[in-house]
């Protein structure tokens, strides 16, 4: 079974106000479509049961009647239905609007194949995980550092693209605390399939505690093994790509690892954040996620254990 956070990202099981609107609209569309389909199927099946010797009715005026029939059934009635559906849908077309004077609470920057997450007002840097206070509208700015990605948390809102050279803005809001799965929805290269993230909605008080923890620099190594791990982390080149704030590592290519141990997953929603999965990821990222930027790191068993101990201490 799946041990990854966030349930099935079912758009018709909404957990936020925006997704609720979209799900209602979706049900209206689906039900109308099914009714129309049934009517067409009935119309198709009618001639099956008819007397085959009865030919076309050549009474005077039949052509004009056929024209009227086609115009009414084929165009006029559908036009009324479509107009109704269209106008009904327009009530939701402003659903993502952000308010032009607001600034973003969260900035999300797409990378091949992970999500950089920043809280500019709080000075927090994290990755592949977006903590939000439940019941609150959280404004998000979307950017990309490389190719086009698309930000999609089906249970909270529709999708919006991250486009290099542009900033797209919208918002998400979760009704209640919970974990909601997010995905990249625009083909972005070999590992598009494994570019997920988790939105973690928590009560306001808990959000403040989380933010306070995240704002701290990294914990210094707690024991000799972790201290050895910190050296190995530098020596093996991890620091070229990863930042550990306060511990001297300041790479900007991969995710910020300052509070790595507090996260739920590894590899952009791919693996649960356990010691075993982490070991596999460090030495065999290319095997687990071929095409990811993270190389397979060569290190001895002791070094690996030390690095794991160090990373697990980054709470």
């Amino acid at each position: 079974m799946n041990e990854l956070p966030g349930g099935i990202p079912n758009m018709l099981a909404p957990r936020g106000i925006a997704a609720q609107h979209l799900a209602t609209l979706g049900w209206v569309l689906i039900v109308i479509s099914i009714i129309v389909l049934i009517l067409v199927l009935i119309a198709l099946l009618v001639p099956l049961g008819r007397d085959r010797e009865h030919g076309v009715d050549h009474e005077p005026g039949y052509k004009a009647r056929e024209h009227t029939f086609v115009l009414v059934i084929g165009a006029a009635i559908p036009a009324l239905i479509l107009l109704g559906v269209y106008l009904y849908s327009m009530k939701d077309i402003g659903l993502w609007e952000f308010g032009s004077h607001s600034t973003a609470d969260v900035e999300v920057i797409g990378h091949q194949f992970w999500w950089e997450v920043r809280y500019p007002k709080l000075g927090i840097h994290t990755a592949n995980e977006i903590y939000i206070p439940s019941g609150t509208r959280v404004r998000i700015a979307l950017m990309s550092s490389d190719v086009i990605h698309s930000f999609w948390v089906p249970q909270l809102h529709g999708k919006l693209d991250l486009i290099p050279g542009r900033v797209n803005r919208f918002w998400i809001e979760a009704d209640s605390a919970g974990q909601y799965r997010g995905e990249c929805a625009e083909f972005c290269g070999p590992q598009h399939a494994h570019m997920d993230f988790t939105v973690v909605a928590v009560p306001k008080g808990e959000f403040s505690r989380w933010a306070a923890e995240q704002q701290k620099p990294a914990a210094p190594p707690a024991d000799p093994a972790a201290a050895e791990g910190r050296r190995a982390f530098q020596f093996a080149g991890c620091a070229y790509c990863h930042t550990v704030n306060g511990n001297g590592a300041a790479g900007r290519v991969g995710p910020d690892l300052t509070h790595f141990a507090s996260r739920l997953t590894i590899g952009a929603g791919m693996l649960p954040n356990t010691r075993g999965a982490l070991a596999g990821w460090v030495v065999g990222a290319q095997h687990l996620k071929p095409g990811v930027r993270m190389p397979d790191v060569t290190m001895s068993g002791e070094e690996l254990q030390a690095v794991l101990a160090y990373l697990e201490g980054l709470r």
């Binding site: 086609v70 084929g74 529709g158």
Partner: protein, 634 residues
């Protein structure tokens, strides 16, 4: 001057027949030969695209499958889409149009026979060029939509994308000259009396489609050229850091891409409008509305492209406009569907395999149309865009309105092309396997999309509600593939062993059925005269064929056919048609060498190939002695 039928046929055979030699095969400009080649080549590409799909479905049958690497999967889905859209769906319809437009208008060939041969060769070579990318393990990997910046050099440094760009630029040459040929033939070469109002619907759809090609394809050709310049010469059309735009590609691509959807479905509608009335034994209801709907779809199709882009962050008003246009284009389709339903309601249907495929088309296309309305509604599209729901939708539209009508068209016109009937028994098997397999394979994709499965993923996680639907999809897709194979086997067996059909086995209404099956190289020994929409139903055959006495209708002093006025099809002149020629093939070969040399950056070869192309054009237009006119009929 009295003429016997035998001596007239002898004379026309002498003028029009291509020798059955290798040279004859390479030089022929006969639209029927080229049409069959188009059809066969397109079906070969359909099979290749189908094999790619079958491999992908094996990879997706179970979660976390390791049959394919991500890169291999991405190359397969890119080639699947590119193949089906460019090498199957449009060319297969060109095949029908090549074969049947001259027969339907009552002419002896298309207006530019050599251009037609050139168009086929370029299509074939562009396909071979694109597929040769597999030999070097560098097939296009950016999807058929090829979005930048993923396909710019920094993110895709191999030659994968160059194969795509160059192949499509060359293919666009083929498609464009084909479209010009159809437009001129339909407007200027209709049989005397075939006014615009009497023109069969298939010609309306070919005419509309050809116009759409002329006005939409330049957007794609230009975009591919710009991308190739970005990749090769360091221009910045698509590079936001250099003042370009990463969204420009999407606008150009879809300004082409959405009209292209109508290019690959409108002729399918045309086939249905031809065959359905024959199988229900009455004229098409509301003929004028169906003809005008075809034109309307072609025009409105240019105003809907941004509905592929509702998630890129367009202004709200813009999205509202494109959504409204997407609703409006439903109406002409609704008119056509209603006209077909009414026709079958009030007719006396004969349930042939061809008619079954038409009924299958109606069911599948209506489902695809309804899911199209759902995707055209902006707010809900934010949810289903780029999910498997859209994969389901587009296959319902394209397989529904292209493949099913095409197969119906093959069953309908096969006797005309070969003189033999296809097996109805095998045909019914092929229909039920394809119809059931298709729905089992593709309907669950709607559900996968609603459960949040994005498109273009090479695998998915276990336990996310996707395991069962994907397994069912794979099983259905394989049943569907078996149905297609049964159909192909039927074609091959029936071509050799099918019962002889005679000239008009279905009691068809239009001019092609007035010729023998298969038609002679010159199609009509006497240029026919038309007085109604359904000449074969309304007129005695002698009136259509006319006598052999009138030299202005037998046209025997060379390869000649009649040219007529646009609106009323009044005879205005005699057209001298081009003789067979090797130059179209040589020009296409030179351009293919140019394609490879520009791919591999071998300048000297490019120069030589360019000169060879110019020389071929010179040879093509070099004045030839008019074919001898002796042996006049006594």
């Amino acid at each position: 001057m009295g003429v016997t039928a035998a001596s007239l046929n002898e004379r026309l055979d002498f003028l029009w027949e291509t020798p059955r030699t290798l040279m004859g095969a390479l030089t022929t400009v006969d639209h029927k030969t080229l049409g069959k080649r188009y059809l066969i080549t397109a079906f070969v590409f359909l099979c290749l695209g189908g094999i790619e799909a079958a491999i992908m479905r094996a990879q997706l049958a179970r979660p976390g499958e390791h049959l394919l690497s991500p890169e291999a999967y991405n190359q397969l889905f890119s080639m699947h889409g590119t193949t089906m859209m460019f090498l199957y769906a449009a060319p297969v319809l060109s095949g029908f149009s090549n074969y049947f437009v001259p027969l339907l208008v009552g002419s002896r060939d298309l207006s530019y026979p050599r251009l037609n041969a050139f168009s086929y060769w370029i299509f074939l070579f562009a396909g071979v060029f694109l597929y040769s990318s597999f030999l070097v393990g560098a097939a296009p990997n950016g999807g058929w939509f090829n979005y930048v910046p993923l396909t710019t050099r920094p993110f895709d440094p191999g030659i994968n994308i160059d194969f795509y760009n160059i192949a499509l630029i060359f293919l666009s040459v083929s498609t464009t000259v084909g479209a010009i040929n159809f437009i001129v033939t339909i407007l200027r070469m209709r049989a005397p009396g075939m006014t615009l109002g009497r023109m069969p619907i298939y010609l309306w759809s070919t005419l509309s489609t050809s116009a759409v090609i002329l006005f939409s394809l330049p957007a794609l050709t230009g975009a591919c050229l710009m991308l190739e310049l970005d990749r090769r010469l360091g221009t910045h059309f698509f590079d936001p850091n250099g003042g370009g735009s990463s969204l420009l590609w999407q606008h150009l691509f879809w300004a082409f891409g959405h009209p292209w959807v109508y290019v690959v479905v409108l002729p399918g509608f045309g086939i249905v409008s031809m065959a359905l009335p024959v199988f229900v034994r009455r004229p098409l209801a509301a003929f004028e509305y169906v003809a005008m709907s075809t034109v309307a779809i072609a025009i409105i199709g240019f105003g809907v492209w941004a509905h592929h882009m509702f998630a890129v962050g367009l202004p709200t008003v813009g999205m509202g406009f494109f959504s409204a246009a997407s609703m409006i284009i439903v109406l002409p389709s609704g008119i056509s569907v209603t006209a077909w339903l009414l026709t079958s309601w009030t007719g006396r249907p004969v349930y042939t395999t061809s008619y079954l495929f038409i009924l299958g088309f109606l069911v599948i296309f209506v489902i695809g149309g309804l899911s199209g309305v759902i995707t055209g509604i902006v707010p809900f599209d934010w949810q289903i865009h780029d999910t498997y729901f859209v994969v389901a939708h587009l296959h319902y539209v394209l397989i529904g309105a292209n493949l099913f009508p095409v197969v119906a068209g093959v069953y309908y016109w096969f006797p005309k092309m070969t003189g033999r009937l296809m097996s109805e028994r095998i045909g019914k098997w092929s229909f039920w396997l394809m119809f059931i397999g298709f729905n089992v394979g593709f309907f669950p994709m709607h559900i996968a999309g609603i459960f949040g499965m994005p498109r273009r993923v090479y695998t998915y996680y276990e336990g996310m509600g996707l395991d069962t639907v994907n397994m069912v999809e794979t099983i259905g897709a394989y049943i569907f593939a078996v149905g297609v194979l049964v159909f192909i086997v039927n074609v091959i067996l029936s071509a050799r062993h099918g019962p002889l059909s005679g000239a008009n086995p279905w009691n068809g209404a239009t001019l092609e059925w007035s010729t023998p099956s298969p038609p002679p190289p010159y199609n009509f020994e006497v240029i026919p005269v038309v007085t109604t929409r359904d000449p074969m139903w309304d007129e005695p055959l002698e009136n259509i064929r006319g006598g052999n006495a009138d030299p202005s209708r037998t046209l025997t002093s060379g390869r000649e056919t009649l040219t007529t006025s646009v609106m009323h099809a009044r005879p205005v002149g005699i057209l001298h048609m081009a003789e067979d020629s090797i130059w179209p093939l040589l020009l296409a070969l030179s351009l293919t060498i140019l394609a490879y040399s520009s791919l591999l950056d071998v300048t000297i070869v490019s120069v030589v190939a360019g000169v060879a192309a110019l020389l071929s054009i010179g040879g093509w237009f070099w004045p030839e002695p008019v074919r001898e006119r002796e042996g006049s009929i006594s």
